[in-house]
Amino acid sequence: MDAVIFLVFAIIAVVCAINVVIQSHPISSAISLVGVMGSLAVLYLLLGAEFLAAAQVIVYAGAIMVLFVFVIMLLNAGAETRKGRSFMVQLLGVPLLVTLLGLLAYIVQRIYPIGTMVHFGGFTHGTPQDVGRALFSTYLLPFEVTSVLILIAILGAIVLARKEMD
């Protein structure tokens, strides 16, 4: 049952991810990306990380992608027109892609032998309490540094926006 659900949502995630690239309209791409985020959330849930799954939907699929869609709607971006592909792309595109995927698969298989594969239901420390405790004890410094980084980014955005206005 777990494996079936995993396969279904993994396939949805991959199909949506490919759809993000091949759609010509930004809105369609953004919606496909929401699909990717949603299926990833289901995979997190399968692995026993329920807080992460909820945060994934609220933050990525909900907040960030809504903002994307909002900006695309606001700018009224139209469908992009396809230009003819260059000779190099036509020649090397598919072989390079196959090489990359093959290399990734090979590396993953070498690093993780069959015995240490993920087991569904084996991980039970994904509750909000566990995540909160880990964030505010073991990973306190990285957590705080990240939040300061985000604060700096917000300040930077405001400064840049103000400069535009003057």
């Binding site: 807080f51 909820a54 699929a61 809504v66 869609v69 909002f70 709607m73 606001l74």
Partner: protein, 393 residues
């Protein structure tokens, strides 16, 4: 296992049927209440006091011609109402209506499922609900719809922040994310409810939550996305028949969800205002008995001929309900259900009441209010709550 599946199926059917009926009749209640606020009778023709009006509306909406404008973005135009109604109905699956009960030897919750991230689940579903409206506005290819969709997304993104902060504060007091456990921590009377409970009563959170909830559900005074005088009908201008009905139902389902959320987070869910040892168990029976006696009295001194018949009938029905509330074997689940419905119903009434009272905000006032006032206040409230909880624990 089989029993679990059967009980779950029954629960799903019951909750779905009740929710759909509530959705239909909430609209009747809204039209009636608004009408009485504005001193007019409201729906009156279909059935006694217009009670069959929702049925007539449903038949009208189902049999109406389903127009598909030629200039829309078809896949997204068709997906938008579906998305809106799905995300609006989803949260009801985690809302508890009562404690755990025994049915024919099996123990079960009066709730479809109890998630340990129930609160987050509802927030996630409501944040996905924005897509329905935003995509409906965009895919309609109509400037009024687009403006409505834009306004709505901007408004919902902005008000989600104070709403989440307001939700976080009572969670600090209750120390759980499961909606079932959340109510259990508030058990034992009015002064244990999160809205009045120490160390920091969540009355400010409650008000912030309600204000944000009005904006999230696009209700007056924050119904800018469908401001008729500026935007025709806003994001659903191009929709007709069942697709329009989906948006309509989604709005009412969202109203019910946020009312349930407010009840569970702040008002103690299904717990009675004071312990059963001091007689809170008799309140529903007394209320219904008084209602029945008043109806009987008016039946005897009838102002119109037909009242001689209708008032005594309703009086007897109310008296029977009052008697049912006194039966010991149903009290276990009927009393919690009564308190839950009473609290949720009061908040729903406030929604309608405010619609009949307040004018619409201007767009800049709407945005300025949330970012310059509501958000800082919610932040401050969360900070104070956190400090006091840490201090006293």
């Amino acid at each position: 296992m089989d029993a679990f599946i059967i009980i779950s199926l029954i629960k799903v059917l019951v909750v779905f049927a009740v929710l759909m009926t509530t959705l239909a009749y909430l609209q009747w209640v809204e039209r009636k209440v608004i009408a009485h606020i504005q001193v007019r009778p409201g729906p009156y023709r279909v059935g006694p006091h217009g009670l069959l009006q929702p049925l007539a509306d449903v038949i009208k909406l189902v049999t109406k011609e389903d127009l598909l404008p030629p200039y829309v973005n078809k896949p997204l135009y068709l997906a938008a109402p579906f998305l809106a109604i799905t995300m609006a109905l989803l949260p009801i699956s985690v809302i508890p209506f009562g404690p755990s009960i025994h049915v024919a030897g099996y123990q079960t919750y009066m709730q479809l499922t109890d998630l340990n991230i129930g609160v987050l689940f509802i927030l996630a579903a409501s944040s996905m609900g924005v897509y329905g409206i935003a995509l409906a506005g965009w895919s309609s290819n109509n400037k009024y719809a687009l403006l409505g969709g834009l306004r709505s997304s901007a408004q919902m993104i902005s008000y989600e922040l104070p709403m989440s902060l307001a939700v976080a504060a009572p969670l600090l007091l209750s120390n759980t994310l499961s909606l079932h456990d959340l109510v259990l921590t508030q058990d034992g009377g009015l002064w244990h409810w999160n809205i009045f409970r120490g160390p920091f009563p969540q009355i400010f959170s409650f008000i912030i939550f309600l204000i944000a909830a009005f904006a999230e559900t696009n209700r007056v005074p924050f119904d800018l996305p469908e401001a008729e005088n500026e935007l025709v009908a806003g994001f659903h201008t191009e929709y007709s028949s069942m697709k329009f009905a989906s948006f309509f139902m989604a709005e009412y389902a969202n109203m019910i969800t946020v009312s349930c959320m407010a009840t569970l987070l702040f008002l103690g869910g299904w717990s009675a205002p004071w312990p059963a040892a001091y007689g809170s168990g008799f309140v529903p029976a007394i209320i219904f008995a008084v209602a029945g006696l008043v109806a009987l009295y008016h039946g005897m001194n009838a102002a119109r001929g037909r009242d001689r018949l209708t008032f005594p009938v309703f009086g007897v029905i109310f008296l029977i309900i009052a008697a049912i509330f006194l039966l010991p074997m149903v009290q276990d689940w009927l009393l919690p259900l009564f308190w839950f419905c009473a609290k949720t119903g009061s908040i729903l009434f406030a929604f309608i009441w405010i619609r009949g009272t307040l004018p619409r905000f201007r767009y800049d006032q709407l945005m300025g209010f949330t970012w310059k006032f509501l958000f800082p206040v919610a932040m401050l409230n969360l900070l104070v709550t956190g400090l006091l909880v840490a201090w006293f624990s």
